[in-house]
Subunit: 364 residues, 2 copies
């Protein structure tokens, strides 16, 4: 069993190895996409989009879990890296479609994929729509590549098959979370319960961000599926805690003048912060918040007012407390899980690693 | 080896068996999608959408190929049916995204998926966009189910793995064809060559409609991948011939008053018919056609004029001739393929079956 110390030293090397593999992977797959000249610039954009510096928390978490559950392949093993990267490709595909849905303009400090395509269209009439349509289909193609990347590894057939089925299941979960986000965005805040929001966060983000990497890493390391069945006891509160952390960071760094940030607040999204603020306000403030949120779009004065109301409500402090409680709940579940001491310590290390990575810019 | 006679009798039974399996399949998977109340109506819509009477030419062609290449499972074998159905699910996913791209309103005589969702939104502001976004994500989820459906069969690991990789590759090809269709739609007709259109048809439709079912059926029957490498010599001309047949039928049945038809002509698409008409017109008519097509949208008088110009050009007769030549080319390739007499006769039977199915309403 790998000790925490050696895991730590491996994890220092992992990011560079992952980045190298990721860029060479698109090079390796050039032939698969030799569809002619018209397609080449789009493939370049895709390569650039996926290669942008992200936190890579999914592949990193996968590699950590693989090691903790007894996997002994070298970090440079091509199938191990492909499995890790399949999670990053999945993530990039989800972001591409998510950005179309939200009509977001920026992602990781650069234009979103549909904006890249739109820019390539010059002054063409209808270029916005072209960009969104192309991004939808390129996302589909990236999803296909993500599946093939996991599928074409040389892990034993048994665990690999289970891993692939789980992978596809996580896509489904994420899709449902996305749909809930879309539908809830159109509902009056009084018709969106705290539970709805928690479930949406869980489906849309937690499952493929926290549960999937640990389960897939464990499965491919040869751990029994049973051992991994209860992992959601650890990851469900953990994912929600991270989501709350994300909401709080976004709120505290909020800058009205920086429209490129496109925060949930600017978009009037039904976040947990919003719902909890709503619950804590007096009737007058509550009606006002409801009115602001039901407008088709928010103007600056609405946004300033919403911000004030959230601050006044005390929801920030309540959420901070809830976040701490969720981290503790996850830790208790970890204590009770049928893992070895080394596994427990390692997972704790992994969680600390992610907390450090996500301190300021969310979980992308 | 199955004779043509017994194949024929099996094929008579196959459609009912397929329809039964398809509807029960969504029932069987209800638990996978137990995401709560908000999701239930969408799952119902998905079930209805996929279950609509289509021609099922992909699963039918798959079953025929499976039998011809020596597969001996019963027609009622669950893994055999799942493999067949995976192609229909793939098709439905492609239609869902294609309909969003084209903003189509009708599919198989009923509302497109995004229109179904839009209708569920009542008078909600922004319901069009909600419908399209939900359709995109539901398409993603259906794609995941299609892959899982093929992946969870009990065929021997070797052929099944090759089949799954090919399946994913066909998704990529189709995506690229879709993108070419989007990009070419925005180009002036002088900048879209006949070859571009032929390549687009091939990637967007032929590969997953004709090549994929035969290759997958053959692979899962245990045929050597080598034997199937040249199948595109048969399916490439065949697919193009069917596409031309489709264009010609659409043109001859064209009815200006029936806007719900949303034919390629109404959308001003760069079909082979349009390009060949363009090539055959005199300079004056050609400029006029170019002018009509470059407008952001076509009005009735443009459409009538375009129709007249196409008729005047003689492109219909030229295309009809080309279609016959392509069917003959496909037949010659079939003659030269290293197949047994029974396989050759069976494939001929299969092609005749599809020609019969697609006589009036295209290849959906």
């Amino acid at each position: 069993m790998t000790t925490v110390r050696s895991l730590k030293s491996e994890l220092n090397e992992a990011p560079a190895i992952l980045e190298n593999f990721l860029s060479s992977y698109f090079q390796q797959n050039v032939e698969r996409y030799s569809y002619g000249e018209l397609f080449e610039p789009l493939y370049l954009d895709l390569t650039e989009f996926v290669s942008r510096r992200g936190k890579r928390i999914r592949p990193m978490l996968f590699l950590m879990a693989y090691r903790l559950f007894g996997g002994d392949r070298e970090l440079t093993d091509s199938s191990l890296l492909k499995s890790a990267v399949s999670l990053e490709l999945l993530h990039a595909f989800i972001l591409m479609h998510d950005d179309v849905i939200d009509q977001s303009e920026r992602r990781r400090g650069l234009p979103t994929f549909h904006k890249l395509t739109e820019e390539r269209m010059g002054k063409l009439e209808g270029r916005e729509r072209v960009g969104q349509n192309v991004a939808m289909v390129m996302g589909d193609m990236l999803f296909a590549l993500a599946v093939e990347t996991l599928h074409s590894t040389d892990f034993p057939a048994g665990p690999r098959n289970v891993a692939l089925s789980r992978f596809l299941r996580y896509v489904s979960d994420t899709g449902c979370g996305e749909i809930y986000d879309i539908l809830m965005g159109k509902r009056d805040i009084t018709r969106v319960s705290e539970n709805d929001i928690v479930q949406m966060y869980n489906l849309k983000t937690t499952r493929y961000t926290f549960e999937a990497p640990i389960v897939l890493g464990g499965l491919l390391a040869g751990a029994s599926p049973d051992l991994l069945n209860d992992i959601e006891q650890i990851t469900d509160p953990l994912g929600l805690a991270f989501q709350i952390q994300n909401d709080l960071i976004e709120f505290s760094h909020f800058d009205l003048t920086d429209r490129a940030m496109q925060t949930d607040l600017l978009e009037g999204k039904k976040t947990l912060l919003m719902r909890m603020a709503f619950d804590r306000l007096n009737d007058l403030d509550r009606s006002f918040l409801q009115l602001c949120l039901s407008a088709p779009a928010l103007n600056d004065s609405s946004i300033i007012k919403i911000r004030e109301l959230i601050e006044k409500s005390g929801a920030v402090a309540a959420l901070r407390e809830r976040m701490q409680e969720l981290f503790a709940q996850s830790e208790r579940a970890l204590e009770q899980a049928p893992f070895s001491v080394a596994q427990r310590d390692g997972l704790r290390e992994a969680i600390a690693f992610i907390r450090q990575q996500t301190q300021y810019t969310g979980t992308n």
